[in-house]
Symmetry: C2
Subunit: 219 residues, 2 copies
Amino acid sequence: MYSQAEENYLKTIYALEKDFGNEVSTNLIAGKIKTKASSVTDMLKKLANKELVIYKRYQGVYLTELGRLSALKVIRKHRLWECFLVQKLQFNWDEVHDIAEQLEHVKSELLINKLDAFLRFPKLDPHGDPIPDAQGRVLLSKTLSIKDMKIGTAGIFVGVKDSSSVFLQYLNKKNLALGDKIRVIDIEPFDDSYHIETKTHRLVITSNVAENLCLKNVK
Amino acid sequence: MYSQAEENYLKTIYALEKDFGNEVSTNLIAGKIKTKASSVTDMLKKLANKELVIYKRYQGVYLTELGRLSALKVIRKHRLWECFLVQKLQFNWDEVHDIAEQLEHVKSELLINKLDAFLRFPKLDPHGDPIPDAQGRVLLSKTLSIKDMKIGTAGIFVGVKDSSSVFLQYLNKKNLALGDKIRVIDIEPFDDSYHIETKTHRLVITSNVAENLCLKNVK
DNA sequence: CAAAAAATTTAGACTTACCTAAAATAATAT
DNA sequence: ATATTATTTTAGGTAAGTCTAAATTTTTTG
Ligand SMILES: [Mn+2]
Ligand SMILES: [Mn+2]
Ligand SMILES: [Mn+2]
Ligand SMILES: [Mn+2]
């Protein structure tokens, strides 16, 4: 099938299309994948030859239907393995992403479908991201980042945009966990920092943090 | 740490040393790994530079202590994953080897030790092979292949030398499973075939098959 | 022991996935 | 509209791991 490098590019392009709209630029990809723009160009040509993306020189890329489905298969594997690590092996949510980066490339449809059944067909991974089914169907629940909320409104903390261990350990330290109800108390215009409160405490977060917290609306 | 290719060579050299005694030859390795002798030579130089093997031109190789321990770590991972696949995901014993070939290269000590605990520290994999512990200690129970048995003697079928799905499916078809008591009824000198019997049936096997069945002595 | 055969190594080439530096193109600013 | 800057691509190179063909060394055989 596809190489690990190809799979990583597909996954990355999928994520960037979602965050920035179609037509993903070379530099954006290079930034995410921590590689050089010239390497990205090489790979985009290869992906285009395999009909996984549409690529026009200087114009960026977007996934074809085949590319989208292939990306979703990798994402499905990544998120199912993360569930396994947390639910069965007692890992913490901040420890699983890098291991799942490796496990996601193991090739076996049967394996991943049996893993899905073993975990009882989970719908969300440990970071609140939806798990595509075997056909590549995925529910996209529209959540708000704290940055999009007005002062005084509240929501349930249901996901993170950044799954890196540094960020998740920051949240652990600040006692913020999925399921918490968070209210925006105030926004400081000077530095764009956010005063928020949960049932148990109040704290100030930077706009960088605010952007990476996904809430679901609640009355 | 080491690349997948390096890990595969280490594992293979370890297995060949066991089967053929120390000083493993280039061609033997090439045969097992399904690669060309010239590729093996290249890799042996690399492994020697990393002090994983002792290699003298034209003289074959053997593992250093570091090489032996590194090989055992890969074998430990391979066998634990096979246990997981059979015990938790309900795979058959003939389906797991190729998937474990991929999973064995996932890098995380914590992962493999947690997996070990999750499986309750199994001592044997689904093919009867012993699982090294986290320190690389492994029990080497001396078993006989049917080829080493005299007419009239019997033993318990405790392991296979060949874990390929073709061979295991042959055993399924012939109704031979780990734990069966097998008696050697007769050996045909003409073609070196073996007449054997279990509790439920008799059959004839070739010497090729006989060689790959490991029995434990029983009175 | 010398010749033939077998095993092993070397030489040179290929693919994948990277890289740096230079050239080309697009976007922005004056 | 042109000049400057930013982005992207091309050109050429590297390392890992493989290959084929040729050279070398070891082993076997008459
Ligand atoms: Mn992740
Ligand atoms: Mn990955
Ligand atoms: Mn195996
Ligand atoms: Mn392997």
